[in-house]
């Protein structure tokens, strides 16, 4: 059972959260028409043995999307922050 230290709510069991995938993928620019770029955005993912930057939503809590640094071997979570630059759009506060 992971413990995720939500910046809004404090440490909570991971069962309150929904996994949201790789936090490092960036949606291509609105005018990008290269299908391979879009393909990579949707499908291509790193599968690191080590630190992984990933999104979790506190879906049973404040509904914030969070960015975690989790070690995929030890599950150690070294950083939790709001998903975008510390300001949450659509967050509860």
């Amino acid at each position: 059972m992971l413990s995720i230290d939500c910046p809004q709510c404090g440490p909570r069991d991971h069962t309150e959260f929904s996994y949201g995938g790789d936090a490092r993928v960036q949606r291509p620019a609105a005018d990008c028409d290269d299908p391979t770029v879009w393909h990579d955005y949707v499908y291509a993912r790193e599968n690191p043995r080590g630190v992984h930057h990933e999104l979790w939503q506190h879906s049973q809590g404040c509904r914030s999307w969070l960015e975690l640094q989790r070690h995929t071997v030890t599950h150690e979570i070294t950083q939790v922050r709001l998903a975008v630059g510390g300001s949450v759009s659509g967050g509860s506060r």
């Binding site: 059972m1 992971l2 413990s3 069991d13 929904s18 949201g20 949606r27 291509p28 609105a30 005018d31 990008c32 028409d33 299908p35 879009w38 393909h39 955005y41 949707v42 499908y43 999104l55 939503q57 879906s59 509904r63 914030s64 999307w65 030890t74 599950h75 150690e76 979570i77 709001l82 998903a83 975008v84 630059g85 300001s87 949450v88 759009s89 659509g90 967050g91």
Partner: protein, 999 residues
């Protein structure tokens, strides 16, 4: 009959003043307060308690703890019977009812022993091989007999009436195991001021101290332990749990504990409690268990762990036999001989495989008059049902003749195995330590410590010192430094003085001399030495293969007493070191956990509580038949008289087309969208245009996933400059909300938009049918509903009675229709107001079945069509997308495979015989007999009887559907052997121009 013939006259920690009555296999017995079920049965001379899993051999008590492989009983009766309870762990209580399992009519005389006749066929891998027998039918015949006879206890087949609970808790330091090391660790940690949990799976805390004779600070070990426990229990910062197993060490330092709080009653208030405990530090003091040595017929009742024999003698005051033989490869068994002698028991000798032993031990045995045979092994246990003697063989290679010893108990010690299951859940596989002849876990992360016997320390003084050090350092590392609760020292705990006696000079002894008779490695799963040889010769040599091929270590005891013996045997077969064979890793649970405890109180309706519409009371009063839709229960139809579903929905749907009906749509997802960039946001979320939707209008929209598949559809209406209300399908409400939140928080954080789910704030109802305008105008105030003032897709606020409502002129049925949204707590009063106003218009409530019939007639898609595999083009809405803007899914919807012209697309179907019903999921083929996989052209997704057309119709997906209009195909359902001839038609069956909607 003498009462408790094997109870010693004195001694033990049982309370002889408190006799306890219990029932075993229908007979009353007496035991004492403090007994385990096993000790009470042994005291009464009951030695054959069970029959073995595969061969139905007689089995008795082997251990005195949680590692017990044999003495598994069913405790309780009726619906509260618990199978496979460990007699060694079950405390005795007044009125306890226990029974043997896997035997009939009794464990002594068991007809199931028929399986031992099949023994040659039941060796390792028998199940795999028998499938390949040439005479397969013979196996099919015997298989039934063997299966019926093999097994363990049976659960009650009725629902479990007991209450199980779940709790979450936090602590600073968790100490697992309340033996000498654990007690010291808990005390030292508590003295720093840390919040401590001390957990032990035995009913009586103290672990090995309850069996030891060594003194601590001049006190008996059990007395010292009891005083420590009492002191800890006085400290509010300390939680002490007995009868509690830490069955799992999960990630991020969370632990699964099961507290058997109801273990002392047949009908407890709570049977068990699951604790999910988070600790900042953990100290494992889980102890070690004694391994057996192998010899032929080593499963006979009366063959026991030496330390177990000692436990029954010292802790329970019970004799395990009148003439005990000790058999060992290490020093610890001699302590059993000493204790048996001092309580007046006859020890017929010590058989030691070692050629030399410590002279002090030899002297001690000499003084006690116990003969010691060195360099000798037990070759075989004699006796048909229980031990009646032992055959010994010299190991000096002289080929000396076999000698026989008369005994009724063989107490065996093959060395000690540290309990490292919890360790290995975080540290990976344990490694073999050749000096200790044991698997040890040496690479624990910093927050975990291992002390005492589970770390390979068998000296009592060392256990106490390690515990004290670990507890203090755990507290210190968390920043506690003596801020202890009042009355507690705040000083480092003084380590008490105890003996420095230690287990020494264990000599590995894995390959006993072979003798006629089975040598059991895994007692619980009946895996023999010969099975391991066979696994090796057949190539199943890796430890994982060995385990799966022989089922070794896969029983409830997880092979605690058997794994190392098996690994050593395999190592010898392979000619490698034990360390090269490896070890299997432990996964949760360490010991079996009742499923009920994971469910807790979340069972039955509480497992999946349902969501109630604000109008639910009205539907119930009206006798609606409810249908599950996710967590909702929606009225499916409102039967009149004894109407069937078919009759009711046809009546309701027809009535909507002719007059007017009302349906509860509260379960639709509703999302309020606010902010200056709301229009831009919708424009990017939906495939169609949203920048120019005026205030007071609604629009239908479809949203895709980024991979180009349709996610959901619905209408969104604009109520103010920066104020929108989105509706989603019932099924996708949660997914859409999550999707939008992700987009706003992660992808487009620059958009100034706020969204919130208002599904439960609004009651929703659709009023549909030619009379709907007239009806609503009669009860709505503040709004002119005429076509000119309130045309199709208009929205406005108004009032019904005193209640402010939102009206949307949108239609799912294809009729003139309005959706009315009212604040949830006024939902029922608004519904009732509409019903009253509708009386003169003959209003009729309709359910989801009629709703479905109406939308299928109109070719509107729902979840059956938008199943996550369909594109915008598949559902005939490709033209809706504005390719000149960015929206989610824009690029990937254009992928080659998604725009292929042979993709099945939305189409309508009529059964050629109008009275023949169609089935959703049917495959579309040219002929009723065509090959399904090779020739399928599509499938049927939604079916109904259309009252308007007077026949059965369907929606589905068909290749080249538009070119096939008018063609005849077959809708085939091979699993039900069902085929219907259908005619292909347009997906909209009724009023394709939409004149009725816009009327």
């Amino acid at each position: 009959m003498i009462e408790q013939p094997f109870r010693l006259a004195t001694g033990g920690l049982v309370d002889r003043a408190q006799a306890i009555d219990f029932v075993y296999n229908g007979t009353y017995y007496k035991g004492y307060q403090g007994d385990s079920l096993a000790s009470a049965l042994l005291a009464n001379g009951e030695r054959v308690l069970a029959r073995s899993f595969k061969y139905h051999r007689p089995r008795g008590v082997f251990s005195a703890g949680p590692e017990e492989p044999s003495a598994l009983l069913t405790v309780g009766w009726g619906t509260r019977r618990e199978p496979n309870a460990l007699a060694t762990l079950q405390p005795l209580y007044d009125g306890l009812v226990a029974s043997s399992q896997n035997c009939w009519p009794s464990p002594r005389f068991d007809l199931g022993a028929v399986n031992s006749w099949f023994a040659p066929l039941l060796s390792a891998g028998f199940y795999y091989k028998t499938f390949m027998w040439p005479g397969h039918s013979a196996w099919m015949r015997f298989e039934k007999i063997i299966r019926k006879a093999a097994g363990m206890g049976e659960a009650s087949r009725a629902p479990d009436p007991d209450i199980y609970r779940k709790s979450h808790a936090f602590c600073d330091v968790l100490v697992v195991g309340a033996g000498p090391a654990g007690l010291m660790a808990a005390e030292a940690a508590a003295d720093t001021g840390a919040r401590v949990w001390l957990v032990d799976e035995q009913p009586r805390l103290g672990g090995q101290l309850n069996r030891e004779t060594e003194l601590i600070d001049g006190l008996d070990g059990h007395d010292w332990a009891a005083r420590r426990v009492a002191r800890l229990q006085k400290n509010d910062a300390v939680t002490v749990l007995a009868n509690t197993t830490v069955f799992a060490a999960y990630d991020n330092m969370s632990f699964g504990l099961v507290e058997r709080c109801g273990v002392l009653q047949h009908k407890p208030e709570t049977r068990q409690r699951l604790w999910m405990l988070r600790a900042s530090r953990v100290i494992y003091a889980t102890g070690a268990i004694e391994r057996p040595l192998l010899f032929a017929d080593n499963d006979r009742p009366g063959v026991m762990q030496a330390n177990a024999v000692r436990s029954y003698n010292n802790q329970y005051g019970v004799s395990c036999g009148h003439r005990t033989l000790l058999y060992t490869n290490n020093d610890s068994a001699y302590q059993t001989a000493v204790d048996l002698c001092s309580s007046g028991q006859a020890v017929v000798g010590v058989v030691d495989v070692r050629a030399q032993i410590n002279p002090d031990l030899a002297q001690q045995m000499h003084e006690l008059g116990v003969p010691v045979k060195l360099a000798t092994a037990v070759q075989r246990a004699k006796g048909r049902q229980v031990v009646a003697g032992a055959e010994l063989i010299a190991l000096d290679g002289s080929g000396a003749a076999v000698s026989t010893v008369d005994c009724d108990c063989i107490a065996v010690s093959g060395g000690w195995s540290p309990n490292v299951q919890l360790h290995s859940m975080v540290a990976g596989m344990p490694g073999f330590d050749a000096d200790l002849v044991a698997m040890l876990s040496r690479q624990l992360p910093a927050a975990y410590q291992s002390v005492g016997a589970c770390s390979g320390s068998y000296c009592l003084q060392a256990c106490l010192e390690q515990g004290a050090l670990a507890g203090a350092s755990a507290g210190d590392s968390l920043g506690f430094s003596g801020q202890a609760a009042a009355g507690f020292s705040g000083q480092p705990a003084a380590v008490p003085m105890a003996g420095k006696h230690t287990l020494s000079a264990v000599e590995a002894f894995w390959q006993p001399p072979s003798a006629k008779g089975k040598q059991f490695v895994d007692l619980q799963h009946d895996v023999c030495r010969s099975d391991i040889a066979q696994a090796h010769s057949e190539g199943f040599q890796s430890v994982e293969h060995l385990k799966r091929y022989t089922t070794l270590g896969m029983a409830g005891d997880q092979g605690r007493s058997s794994n190392l013996n098996a690994l050593a045997l395999m190592a010898e077969h392979r000619g490698v070191e034990i360390s090269a064979v490896g070890s299997t890793s432990s996964r949760p649970p360490v010991s079996p956990v009742a499923l009920g405890v994971f469910g807790g109180l979340e069972r039955g309706q509480h497992f999946r509580p349902y969501r109630r519409s604000p109008m639910q009371a009205w539907h119930d009063a009206r006798g609606a038949v409810l249908q599950e839709a996710g967590l909702w229960r929606r009225p499916q139809y409102y039967p009149i008289g004894g109407e069937s579903l078919e009759e009711a929905y046809r009546r309701e749907a027809a009535h909507v087309r002719q007059k007017v009906g009302i349906v509860d749509v509260s379960s639709l997802g509703k999302i309020q969208i606010n902010g200056p960039d709301s229009a831009e946001f919708l424009h990017r979320v939906y495939v169609n245009n949203w920048l120019k939707l005026p205030v007071g209008k609604a629009r239908y929209g479809v949203m895709l996933r980024e991979d180009g598949m349709v996610l959901d559809d619905g209408t969104t209406s604009r109520w103010g400059e920066h104020d929108y209300l989105m509706t989603t399908t019932t099924a996708n409400a949660g997914a859409v909300m999550l999707h939008l939140e992700h987009l706003l928080q992660v992808v487009w954080p620059d958009l100034r938009v706020r969204i919130s789910s208002v599904t439960e704030q609004w009651a929703g109802m659709a009023v549909a049918g030619p009379n709907s305008r007239e009806l609503l105008q009669a009860c709505v105030t503040g709004l002119d509903l005429s076509n000119e003032s309130f045309p199709f897709m208009a929205v406005a606020e108004a009032q019904i009675g005193e209640v402010p409502v939102r009206l949307l002129r949108i239609s799912f049925s294809g009729e003139l229709a309005y959706e009315v949204y009212a604040p949830a707590n006024h939902g029922q009063s608004v519904w009732e107001a509409i019903m009253r106003a509708g009386e003169i218009h003959d209003i009729m409530p309709y359910g989801t079945e009629a709703l479905g019939a109406l939308r299928i007639e109109k070719g509107h898609v729902t979840g059956n069509e938008l199943d996550g595999r369909t594109t915008l083009g598949d559902v005939g809405m490709a033209a809706m997308a504005n390719q000149n803007k960015d929206f989610i899914g824009r690029m990937l919807m254009r992928r080659e495979g998604l725009v292929a012209t042979d993709r099945p697309v939305l189409s309508g179907f009529k059964s050629v015989d109008p009275s023949e019903p169609l089935q959703a999921g049917a495959i579309l083929l040219r002929g009723a007999e065509a090959e399904v996989e090779a020739e399928k052209l599509g499938h049927i997704s939604s079916v109904t009887f259309s009252p308007a057309l007077g026949q059965h119709i369907a929606l589905g997906f068909l290749q080249q559907a538009r070119q096939r209009t008018g063609d005849r195909l077959y809708a085939v359902y091979p699993l039900r052997d069902h085929a219907v001839e259908v005619e292909v038609c347009e997906p909209c069956f009724l009023d394709p121009e939409g004149g009725r909607t816009r009327a």
